[in-house]
């Protein structure tokens, strides 16, 4: 008969198992992190656990732009410093971080939470397009900047949105093609992104 593993090892294994589910963390790194936490003061583990828990408890999606936020509407949607005549469309909340980091864009955002990907079964109903169209209804938005990823899905989503939005009489622009094709916005550096926003072209 097999012996039960000792409880201490069980707790470690559980942590390693959970950690290795995180992106970029293999079993080896998960092991290193787990043993680091085991040796570190209890306070550190407490803070980490609290930070992880509050992420799920406090963070929601902004009901206007669908960015992640602690307060609804999010600070960008609430701010009177932002230009309300421009909306920049991105695929993921991480893309807003990248664009905000450049400091050059002063308009509002809209997060689609994905891109159209027909072969994966992701169509227009599966991302936040209907909510975007509702935001465009009152006529206050004069320009929509399509900042979906410079890859096939992002381009396809941009072409589709352009077909929907152009007939509304709103100017539709696309980030300049400085971003190499096949890649993702999130990883672009500030200079490339700044140039892409400045050099955006009517689409």
């Amino acid at each position: 008969m097999e012996q039960n593993p000792i409880p201490a090892a069980q707790a470690i294994n559980r942590l390693i198992e959970e950690l290795s589910k995180l992106p970029g963390i293999g079993p080896k790194s998960a092991q290193r992190l787990a043993f680091h936490l085991l040796r570190a003061p209890e306070e550190q583990s407490k803070l980490l656990a609290e930070a992880i828990l509050s992420l799920k408890q406090k963070i929601t999606l902004c009901s206007i732009c669908f960015n992640v936020t602690e307060s609804d509407p999010c600070p960008i949607c609430r701010s009177d410093q932002r230009d309300r005549s421009q909306i920049c469309i991105v695929e993921q909340p991480q893309d807003i971080l990248a664009l905000e980091h450049t400091g050059i864009y002063r308009g509002l955002y809209h997060v689609l939470h994905g891109a159209i990907s027909p072969t994966e079964g992701v169509g227009s109903e599966d991302i936040r397009i209907r909510e975007l169209l509702r935001r465009l209804e009152d006529g206050s938005v004069k320009e929509v900047i399509l900042a979906t990823n410079p890859n096939l899905e992002g381009e396809q989503t941009a072409m589709y949105l352009s077909r929907l939005i152009s007939p509304l009489g709103i100017k539709v622009t696309r980030l300049a093609r400085g971003l190499p094709f096949g890649t993702e916005l999130e990883y672009a550096d500030d200079i490339t992104l700044t140039r892409a926003i400045e050099g955006r072209q009517e689409f």
Binding site: G24, I116, P118, G121, G123, M159, G182, T183, E184, T192
Partner: protein, 258 residues
């Protein structure tokens, strides 16, 4: 003698899946190795030199190194990026649909050179084809030939008699047509107009140039789409996902689809 550690092949990228933070697993359709899966490292980052050469719907010359589980892509040079397709919403969607079919109807590592040729030719010609819907039907019929499901369109699959020029039914579960005498009591099937039967036979037995020579109206186009879609769905035992997107585009946006 052991296999060399690296090798090179032409390939059309037919599917990509995210892996970890910046990698992808790509599905390549090749002339002589059939469908293969390979890992592409770092291709989601803008600094990647490979990304542009490994995007979906790209015909590339790919270098791979044999890996323990998956082979790893170490180089890629674009042969044709099919830009005319990628700059057009409807064409991109059509092209994604045919690559999904290729992926669904093939198994890994089985050579199918004629199917590679068919896929390549369709991607090359799609932007020039007059009627894209007919081009899709042509592709479906010839794909079925290459994967062993060629539908029987000339004689009744039950009584073996040649079909009369009347409404006959296509029956997915028998893989062919049933004459009016044999269709009662048979599994669900699609009644086909005389013209629909003619067009299917013509497409099945001709080369790509036929697509440009045929002229069909919207109703006939719909009839052909329905019967082929029904047969494909029967064979795959599931929906072709990107077909739903083609329908959405046709409904929502007044695209010139023909």
């Amino acid at each position: 003698m052991s296999k060399p550690r690296t090798y090179q092949t032409e390939a059309i990228i037919i599917k990509k899946t995210k892996l970890g933070e910046a990698d992808r697993i790509l599905t390549l359709f090749t002339p002589h190795l059939g469908k293969i899966q390979a890992k592409a490292r770092g291709v989601r980052r803008p600094k990647s030199k490979l990304a542009g050469h490994l995007e979906l719907l790209t015909h590339s010359l790919v270098s791979l190194a044999r890996g323990r589980n998956l082979d790893v892509i170490i180089g890629s040079q674009t042969i044709n990026s099919f830009l005319a397709l990628k700059n057009d919403l409807w064409l991109t969607s059509c092209a994604l649909y045919i690559t999904e079919l290729v992926n669904q109807f093939t198994a890994d590592n089985v050579e199918n050179y004629p199917l590679f040729q068919l896929l390549l030719e369709t991607l090359e010609q799609l932007s020039q084809m007059g009627n894209k819907e007919l081009a899709l039907r042509y592709f479906e019929l010839h794909l079925l030939d290459q994967v062993g499901y060629r539908p029987q369109l000339r004689q009744c699959v039950s009584c073996q008699q040649p079909l009369e020029p009347v409404v006959n039914c296509f029956c997915p579960s028998t893989g062919g047509m049933l004459c009016p005498n044999c269709s009662p009591g048979q599994p669900p099937s699609y009644p086909l107009s005389v013209n629909a039967q003619k067009v299917l036979r013509l497409l099945q037995n001709s080369d790509f140039s036929m697509v440009s020579r045929l002229k069909i109206d919207a109703q006939l186009s719909k009839e052909l789409e329905r019967v082929m879609g029904g047969y494909l769905k029967y064979l795959l035992e599931r929906e072709v996902k990107s077909a739903a997107w083609l329908d959405t585009l046709k409904e929502q946006i007044k695209l010139n689809t023909t």
